[in-house]
Every structure is written in C-alpha cells, then in structure tokens.
Symmetry: C2
Subunit: 222 residues, 2 copies
DNA sequence: ACCTGAACACCGTTCAAGT
DNA sequence: ACCTGAACACCGTTCAAGT
C-alpha cells in the first residue's frame, strides 16, 4: 500500500544506484524491492527478470558513453583527446563498465569513439585498409588499457610484491630499470605515452600502399 | 560410502574441469559434491568455502602461465614472440582467465612475461625509466588486447551490426575505410601489427635521454 | 494494467554428531 | 583427521489470486 505507481524507469534508476554504490552482487531482487517499497514480484512485471534488468542497465551505460568530442589541432592530439576522454568516462562507472565487459559489449560501447578515430585517421592521411587497421589498433589499445588499469586497482595486496620481485632481478641487469619497475605507475602518463607511441608507429608506416582490404598486409606484417 | 579418501587436489581438479567445460556459474558446491561422489560438506573441510576454492583455481592458473620462452633474433621479434605465446596461453583457458581478471590478478599472472620483456627492452638499447615505460606499455597492450578480443568473441549478435553502422557512415568519407571497418577482423594479424607498431614507436623515441625515474618524461610526454 | 503473498527449487554455509 | 545429514538463511522465479 501507500506508494505511487511503480515505473520501469524507477526500477532501473534504483537498480543503477544500488550497483553504483555497492556493486552488482548487492543487486538482489529482494533488496531492490525493499529499496523501492514494493513486493518483489512487482519488479518482474516491469523488467521481466534479473537478467534483463541487468541487460537494461548495461544498455543504458552504453548509450551514456555515446558522446565523444575530439579536441586539439593535429590528428595525433585529437586522437589522444578521444582516448583520454573515453578513459575518463569509463573510470567514472567502474561497476557498470565491468558489467558491460562481462556481457561482451565493451566494443559496442566504443563505437562512437571508433567513428571519431576513423575521422582522425583519415585526416592524418591514412586510407582504406591501412586506416581501418590503425583505428582498430587504437581501439583495442584504449579499451584494453582501461580494462587492465581497472584490474590493477582491484587487485589485492600482492605477495610477493612487484617491488620485491624486481629487487632480486636487479643483480647483473639494469639496476635503474629494476628500480623503475618496482616504483608505482603513473597510469595517466603511461596511458598518454602509450597512445602517442602507437599513433607514431602507425603513422610512420603509413606512406605509399593503397590498402587492398587484407588486414595484416601492411609494412608491419611478416 | 564406498569411495577412496577425498583430497584437496582431487577437489581442485574436478572443480577446474567443471569450470573449463561449463563455466564458473556451473561450479556449485552441490554439483561439485555430486561429481565427486561425496557429501557437500566434505568439500568444506578440504577447501574452506567456495570463495577460497575459486581463489585456489585462480592461483593455479597464474602459475600455469608462468613459463615464457622468447624466440627470434632481433629484440622486436623476441618481444613479438613473447606477446604471441602469452596470447595463446590466455586463449586456451578463457573461463579461468576471466576469473583471474575478476579477481584483479591479470597483472600478477603477467609477471614472468614482464621479466622477459624487460630483458628484451634492455637488449634493444633501452635503459632505466625509458625501458620500464616500454615494458609497461607492452604489458598493458598485450593483456588489454586479449581482454578485448575475448570480449568480442562473447559478444551477442550486434544490432545494428558494425557492418550496417559503417555502411551509413561511408557517404562523404573514405568508402574503402568504411568497407574495411565493416569487414571481420583478423585478430591474430591485428595483434601482431599492433605490437610491432608499438615496439617501433617505443624504440624510435628511445635515443639519448638517461631516464631519471619519472615515468612520463620521455619524448612522448607533453 | 498492475500488484500481491505463498510456494518452489535452488543456493552457500554452519554445526553437532559420527567414525 | 575426515566425513555426514539436518538445518538455516538466503537466492530467483512462477503462479493463482486480487484490484
């Protein structure tokens, strides 16, 4: 009794809030019902079942990340700006992004950014299959980086720690390298550096060549 | 009655087989007990609870992937070979790798390969913080690539398909690029191309510079 | 069209009791 | 030291019944 009509959107909002604050494991139908002040079974009328409720949350997240605006003057700068803004957006929704990933939709989420990258690849002088290869390499790079980065942050305390492992290794090799690998990572800087290095590598191998549709036939292939 | 003594290893073996064949969701304590022919509660004596059982499986997987042997003559070739063999190993254990990822241990799993990469970076003439940056860029690249790739394979049928999305976009832009992006990806070739491009980009910016420990102070930084 | 409680078939886990 | 069944507190889901 005594509550206004339940709506599908209200269910989704409350569910999203639950996931954002306590993670997807906290999203049980009974808890959600309690949060909404309704019977558990009412939820089923609006969203079907738990699985399609999660699907709806995921597809919301995908559309939320659909707006990408490149900034900067050179193609490299604009590509880097796309990469950075995408990374930021992903990092603001860790749980939801993990759910998108579990459902195999990470790439789908990345489509708008893919278009922006294709535009910049064209502007940088890449054409045809060459340009496609560059777009995909960047796409894999950025999405993969964020996944790995998230992963690192959730990692439990390591034993032995990376630090110790690299202390042993140091003997007979590059001591400064070992020290650098034992130090914590500036992931923002590494991200930008990696994207830049990849862009440079891709653009450097771009001259000549018409691109015949066969991925893997460029200057970097065997 | 009537079965030989249960051992922790037997529990882990059976659990691993269940995960490999039917995925982690199929690993329930009751089903595992049925598979082993024991009471559910016996499992608890050997492995504690479900969570630590999964932890044990994950840590097994991590050690399984600990053997990396670079092949080839040039540093670039050897780095590419490390990347490829790691990719193959990860792809042979999709469910277990996903569990490693969920537990935030992907990077931990990658440590042996990290050592190999450090060796090759040194051989390629990189030193100190520069070398560390290259190692980490490669590490993020390879791990991220495999995560994205797995993700794509699990993705449900897309609607609208990537193909259709790129058909619309084609007007006024690079038609061949659009066609190339609409075509399926040769992920093996793209992987090798990406790694090569990144290696080239990293080595190209490596001359001079002593490396002072500050990640992000190289030629690619702002 | 929307909401409800009761009931079902599952979970993981605990615990006292056996040998 | 190892194994057991009973019991507990949870799940997601179905369904007949209400308004």
């Amino acid at each position: 009794m005594a509550r206004s009509a339940l709506s599908r959107d209200e269910v989704l909002d409350t569910a999203a809030a639950l996931v954002r604050e306590h993670g997807p494991a906290a999203l049980t139908m009974r808890r959600l019902a309690a949060e909404l002040g309704t019977a558990v079974t009412s939820i089923y009328w609006h969203v079907g079942n738990r699985e399609s409720l999660l699907d709806a949350l995921v597809s919301r997240t995908v559309t939320d990340l659909g707006t990408i605006r490149p900034r900067g003057t050179t193609p490299t700068e604009r590509i880097v700006s796309v990469a950075r803004s995408l990374r930021r957006a992903l990092r603001e929704r860790p749980h939801l992004v993990a759910m998108v990933h579990e459902r195999g939709l990470t790439e789908r989420m990345f489509l708008p950014a893919q278009r922006a990258l294709a535009h910049e690849a064209h502007a940088a002088g890449l054409r045809g299959a060459h340009a496609a290869r560059a777009v995909r390499a960047l796409q894999f790079q950025v999405v993969g980086y964020v996944l790995v980065e998230r992963n690192r942050e959730r990692a439990p305390a390591q034993s032995p720690a990376e630090e110790e492992l690299w202390r042993e290794e140091a003997a007979g090799s590059d001591a400064e390298l070992a020290r650098a690998l034992a130090a914590p990572i500036d992931t923002e800087a590494l991200f930008v550096d990696s994207v830049r290095a990849l862009v440079d590598g891709l653009l450097a191998g771009a001259s000549g060549d018409t691109g015949d549709g066969a991925v893997g036939r460029g200057p970097y292939s065997l």
